[in-house]
């Protein structure tokens, strides 16, 4: 899979021979565009969308003189990134609000895209904004779909309206809307059954629900893993129902999510939310800039930086970074570091956000789950002060004591010490990635923001 590194590497290869010339010919651009094209196709952006996109980027690239401070590869990435961010919607958008409540939201999409789960999550989000959503169980076809919505409703204490699975969804929607009016719910979310966009009978049913409830939002729920077919699905739903927005689900997976670009390109409708996990709170506003980085394989650096800034003590981070650089890092620092990192959220999610992290040497063994971290902490806490400062004095008998003290085995202690050594090495690498002498995590932002430290 082509990650950011490989796209940059490829572009580096393309432009390598030009170094110092500062002028780029049309041929060079063409060659670069081929690489960009491949990267986008590998990310599942529809090939027709890619074609249009490349044409646009090429036009811009041709018109540009490569300034001294930028290398050609950087300029191209910059254009691609900006163009993609713009195409996906510039800034994030909010939910519509009806002049006269209730505001009606209608969820549509293919089977298994995550409509019911998203319905629950949206309701939760509305509740947080002090709204009183009513959920309408309009999926009478899939076995236990109503039950699923009811369980979700229970979890968040939101009312669920159902007439069982023997009444037509159109009738259910009509009655549900009335129920909301009578009970003072200011939002109504209609869950509908998953259906194929080419299923005429079921699409007709959606149109009728649309007519009866006059929704303020028709949200297409799209699985972020969708491939080339995303354009057909989105186009078809849009033509028949006039979508107002899109929700992208399962973005917590490792998909590059090119479908986001495809769907936006064919419908022109904003992607309003991104679903990032199985928990009911895991619905976030969509950030086009981050999605662009992701499709290009740049990792979700921005999210990480945001989280880090909110949670990491800057002074401590600066000190830590100095230690890392100088390989003075001890087990004491390790504990402290771990506590800080844990404040950021689940470790595996953090790792996912860093580009190339999974490829980095030693990272595979580092694949830590939260329980594992507890054990690691126990091991470190069973060391004496001296041992923590100078891990090299940990001989066999000391290791045995540490193992007994932490309720682990000598093998585990050995593994940790080995990992710690690996990590020291890795952190040195990492810190140089963060920019020499920059101030802690802020170095990351400089790196991404101005693009001045791109590795080519």
């Amino acid at each position: 899979m082509a990650a950011f590194e490989s796209l940059t590497n490829r572009l580096q290869n393309v432009f390598g021979k030009l170094r110092g010339k500062g002028k780029v010919t049309e041929d060079d651009i063409n060659e670069a565009m081929r690489e960009v094209r491949l990267a986008l196709l590998e990310a599942d952006v529809n090939f027709k969308v890619v074609k249009d996109f490349i044409a646009k980027v090429k036009e811009k690239a041709l018109g540009l003189e490569v300034s001294k401070s930028f290398t050609p590869g950087m300029v191209i990435i910059d254009i691609v990134n900006k163009e993609m961010t713009e195409l996906m919607g510039g800034t994030q958008s909010k939910l519509a609000k009806a002049n006269k409540p209730p505001t009606v939201l209608m969820m549509v999409g293919l089977q298994g895209a995550g409509k019911t789960t998203t319905t629950g999550k949206l309701a939760r989000l509305l509740q947080k904004g002090n709204h009183k959503p009513l959920l309408i169980a309009g999926d009478i076809y899939r076995p236990a779909a109503i039950k699923q919505l009811q369980v979700l409703g229970e979890q968040i204490d939101a009312p669920v309206f159902t007439l069982g699975d023997q009444t037509s969804p159109v009738e259910i929607a009509r009655a549900g809307l009335q129920h909301a009016k009578d009970n003072g719910n200011d939002y109504v979310i209609i869950d509908t059954a998953g259906r194929l966009h080419i299923d005429e009978a079921l699409m007709e049913e959606l149109k009728q629900i649309h007519q009866v409830t006059k929704p303020d939002e028709v949200l297409l729920v799209v699985d972020a893993m969708t491939g080339q077919d995303a354009v057909n699905v989105a186009q078809s739903f849009h033509e028949q129902l006039e979508l107002t927005g899109v929700v992208l689900t399962k973005l917590d997976g490792d998909t590059r999510g090119g479908a986001a670009l495809s769907v936006k390109a064919v419908t022109g409708k904003p992607i309003k939310f991104a679903a990032m996990g199985e928990k009911i709170d895991a619905l976030e506003p969509f950030h086009p800039d981050r999605m662009a980085s992701r499709i290009l394989g740049m990792g979700d650096m921005l999210s990480l930086i945001e989280k880090a800034q909110a949670n990491i003590d800057a002074d401590k981070a600066a000190e830590m970074e100095r230690k890392m650089r100088n390989a003075e890092f001890t087990f004491d620092d390790f504990l402290e570091q771990m506590a800080q990192v844990r404040n950021l959220g689940p470790i595996d999610q953090l790792m996912d956000m860093l580009p190339g992290m999974n490829k980095m040497k030693g990272m595979k063994d580092m694949k830590v789950d939260e329980k594992q971290i507890d054990r690691v902490e126990a091991i470190v806490r069973s060391m004496t002060k001296e041992e923590k400062q100078k891990p090299e004095i940990l001989n066999h008998s000391r290791r045995r004591r540490v193992a007994a003290g932490s309720g682990t085995s000598v093998a585990e202690v050995n593994r940790l010490i080995k990992q710690f050594d690996d990590m020291r090495k890795m952190m040195k690498q990492f810190s140089s990635m963060m920019g020499k002498g920059s101030k802690g995590m802020k170095g990351l932002k400089g790196l991404m923001g101005k693009g001045k430290k791109f590795p080519f």
Binding site: Q148, M225, G227, V233, A259, D348
Partner: protein, 301 residues
């Protein structure tokens, strides 16, 4: 191959543009960039070797290649236990691909072949998942072994295997919760389920089927890889093929990981599950695309 046919009749000569369009057709079916590049490369050398000049002579070569790739050597049918023993089939996959539905359909298929079937409700996580399997159980007349929502799925599997032994059923179908392959905890949980089944019945599971949604793009490759590592996937079920998606990624999966497609899902009815037919699949891979092609292709030549 109709779309390819159309391409071939429109462009009689094999030139760069021809390859480019062929590439787009294949990529448009989600075959996957690497595999497409490889295929095109092979076609190029074949064209040189055989001195093919006419596009029409190329078509059988391509069909042959794709079908050959998909067919492979192994038996396309499901691996079953020796008669008199329990066949255990474990279903894995990401969220929303159609695991439970596939199990329901397969239960119906076995049942109508006169086999006794038991289902294990191993998705204890998603709201309503156990009920969903139970509804299928009622529909097809098969018992479901379950515990309450939120319980340990490995424990459900243990119970299910014991029950299957006691009742002496022919087939045990095990449902699991959908999980994204990059969630290491959930993947470990799956590994545990696999181990529990294996411990209780050393020959089992006889098949571990990764259920793939045909609309999925390149991520399916990552799914096949990681689910393969943690649960020893033996084959694929390609669902939702009744839509406009082609599911071409299974070619890449076959090519890179050598996993065969065993079953395809074609709708929501009990009977909408079929054995995989590689020739039919390759045919369909290009069929519906004709319209799109004529819509967009500028007829400049």
């Amino acid at each position: 191959m109709e779309k390819v046919e159309e391409l071939i009749t429109r462009r009689k000569k094999i030139d760069e543009e021809f390859y480019e369009e062929l590439e787009e057709i294949l990529i448009g079916a989600d075959v996957g960039v690497n595999t497409v590049m490889q295929l095109i490369e092979e076609l190029r050398s074949e064209v040189k070797k055989r001195k093919i000049e006419d596009a029409s002579d190329l078509q059988p070569v391509l069909s042959e290649k794709l079908i050959g790739l998909l067919k492979g050597e192994s038996n396309p049918g499901l691996q079953m236990a020796k008669s008199g023993e329990i066949t255990v089939i474990l279903f894995v996959g990401v969220n929303g691909v159609g695991k439970t539905t596939t199990i329901g359909k397969l239960a119906h298929k076995f049942k109508s072949e006169g086999k006794s079937v038991l289902m294990a409700a191993g998705d204890t996580f998603r709201a309503g998942a156990i009920e969903q399997l139970e509804v299928w159980g009622q529909r097809v007349g098969v018992d479901v072994i379950k515990q309450s929502s939120g319980s340990d799925p490995a424990a459900v599997m243990f119970d299910a295997v014991q029950a299957a032994k006691q009742r002496g059923v022919d087939v045990l179908l095990c449902d699991t919760a959908g999980r994204l392959q990059n969630k290491s905890n959930l993947m470990e949980e799956l590994n545990k389920i696999f181990r529990v089944i294996q411990r209780e019945l050393p020959e089992a599971p006889h098949e571990v089927l990764l259920v793939l949604d045909a609309t999925t793009g390149q991520n399916a490759l990552s799914q096949a890889k990681l689910f393969g590592e943690k649960s020893g996937v033996t084959g694929l079920v390609l669902t939702k093929l009744d839509g406009t998606a082609k599911g071409g990624i299974v070619i890449a999966i076959r090519n890179e990981l050598n996993l065969p497609v065993k079953l395809v899902g074609l709708g929501e009815k009990m009977t909408d599950l079929q054995e995989f037919d590689s020739e039919q699949f390759v045919h369909a891979l290009f069929a519906g695309l004709i319209q799109r092609e004529t819509e967009q292709a500028p007829q400049e030549d």
